[in-house]
Symmetry: C2
């Protein structure tokens, strides 16, 4: 392949034997009128040369590139993979592209991604932060709208979308209690300054039924984190019969740890997880999980960011209910993925 | 949040009480010299107002936005998730951002993504196509460099990176033969005009050992595709004792189908898959798989695309060997993920 040659307006003008201004008149349908023969010659030149009005020039003119930035805290998380896909779809439908970045659980890397996206003058940033209360002052100062993903509104002035973690966790643990469990442990997210609603929901469900809190082990929201945490919980040997995990990635890791220990699921250890990702459908047994409405959240996030960019709107905090997808891991019938 | 206000050079000039040209001299360190007091005033104005030289204007000047486009054929595939992450990392390290798009197995959607990326004048496109021989003539005409991912060089003039599918599949099937299997089926990718090297490798390994070809079922490269195909293979009841699946997503689906059928893995049905994704580490039993060197492929893809953009280079086709990660599903020792 030879050196890249970008076709510019001047090339089209030369080929069509008109001035560059006439090319612009044809493209912009004005302001001056162009004779039909001349217009046909310009359009032919555009076709032959494969000319495309420069997107960068257009962006400069409109002060917009129609690009959103997406910053996710972790890469190995099933929910985030599906959320990113849904956000791409929702943004593409409105003519926006999405730049994806991944902080790999590092706050420093997250700040770097935010800075780069601001320097690129994206139209808005969706952030699933490593931190409970991320520092977005630099982004705000640059006037780039931000929306927090997977967040319950931890910063008053910054819009957010997130599942109702407390209610979802409560329902998950209630479901395990209904299956007869009395000793229910939890694998939580990494510890932060703010309490995670899932811990509160787990705790409330147990308290309401007069049950003691089982052991709680914090872990990274990844398969490996859930695996290690479950191994610790099983080794502690304190009569645990059920586990609530704060995300499907952890749930998948926990399933593996229980199998390795030679225990049966759900007979010896039952598990309910949180997210409702596709990965949970195909585990053995199927992983019961609280489904987040990912597509709806993605659509709302994109619409909110667009509205913010266009100005004059107070930030909203949207919280979404989750629904139980009961499968084999909690003791329900393990429907096959075809049904 | 109030209406967004972009700070421009003129705002800085007004605040610092200098002409806009002086702001540019300070930012560009020339061409004219600026007195230290004046420079200090301009820098203070930049800091206070949060001014950032407009990225769009810079892109226009450089004819580059330092953005690559990534077009993946499918969203639910474990390999692609890891490849996308690795490509983001490799691109970010060179100061490039990545726009991610997903064709969801639709050739029409893929063409739309390509067209949009060309209109955005990205610096290059990495394409894992839905088709064996994608039509990239429009992209080529626009002068945007393209590289094919997960591809063995199906178009002579377009650079590619991809695993050595034939050799990897051959090694996978040989491994199953070494475990004593004589009736080995395959779940392949969707049928295309070009033969997939994995089929050829499976076929060669069987032929060399004088074994008959087991049944072959094509399927989408997703968990659900592998699940459905494995159900069909198991129902055919022709004495199958082992399966080779063409990607980990299919392997995960196949594991689920074998469990559902009440068969033991690896005792009744052994499985070796292809990709080496993290997901395969945490299944039960662990999914034996041929690992693709994802990070290396991502780095080489980004470097190649950059070299092409900068011109004067013949396209290269890089093929990478895969290595067996033996776990429980083939009959090897099922090492735990901590080891």
């Amino acid at each position: 392949m030879s050196t890249r040659k970008v076709v510019v307006r001047e090339d089209v003008a030369r080929y069509a034997n008109v001035s560059p201004a006439v090319v612009s008149y044809v493209l912009n349908k004005g302001p001056k009128r162009v004779r039909p023969e001349t217009e046909a010659r310009v359009l032919e030149a555009i076709r032959v040369l494969g000319y495309r009005p420069n997107a960068a020039a257009r962006a400069l003119k409109l002060q917009s590139q129609e690009i959103f930035g997406l910053v996710l805290s972790t890469g190995g998380n099933a929910l985030f993979v599906e959320l990113a896909n849904a956000i791409e779809d929702a943004a593409n439908a409105l003519g926006f592209a999405v730049i994806n970045t991944n902080s790999r659980e590092s706050a420093a890397r997250e700040r770097e991604h935010l800075r780069n996206l601001v320097n690129r003058r994206v139209d808005g940033i969706m952030l699933a932060s490593v931190e409970a209360q991320p520092d977005i002052s630099e982004v705000a100062r640059a006037g780039v709208p931000v929306l927090l993903l997977d967040n319950g509104g931890s910063i008053e002035s910054v819009p957010s979308v997130g599942a109702d973690l407390e209610a979802g966790a409560y329902d998950a643990v209630r479901h395990l209690i209904d299956h007869g469990h009395e000793r229910i442990g939890m694998i939580s997210g990494p510890p932060t300054d703010l309490s995670d609603g899932r811990e509160a929901g787990w705790s409330r469900a147990l308290a309401e039924s007069g049950l003691p809190e089982g052991p709680l082990v914090p872990a990274t929201p990844k398969r490996f984190g859930g695996y290690k945490a479950a191994k610790r919980l099983l080794a502690s040997g304190d009569g645990l019969t059920a586990l609530f995990t704060s995300c499907d990635a952890q749930g998948v890791g926990a399933l593996r740890a229980v199998h390795e220990a030679g225990l049966r699921i759900p007979d010896d250890i039952a598990i309910v997880s949180f997210d409702g990702s596709t990965e949970a459908e195909f585990t053995w047994p199927g992983l019961s999980t609280m489904r987040q409405p990912v597509e709806q959240m993605a659509e709302d996030a994109v619409a909110e960011l667009l509205a913010l960019r266009d100005g004059g709107r107070a930030p909203t905090h949207r919280t979404y209910p989750t629904t139980l997808q009961a499968r084999g891991s909690c003791g329900c019938v393990d429907k096959d993925p075809l049904s």
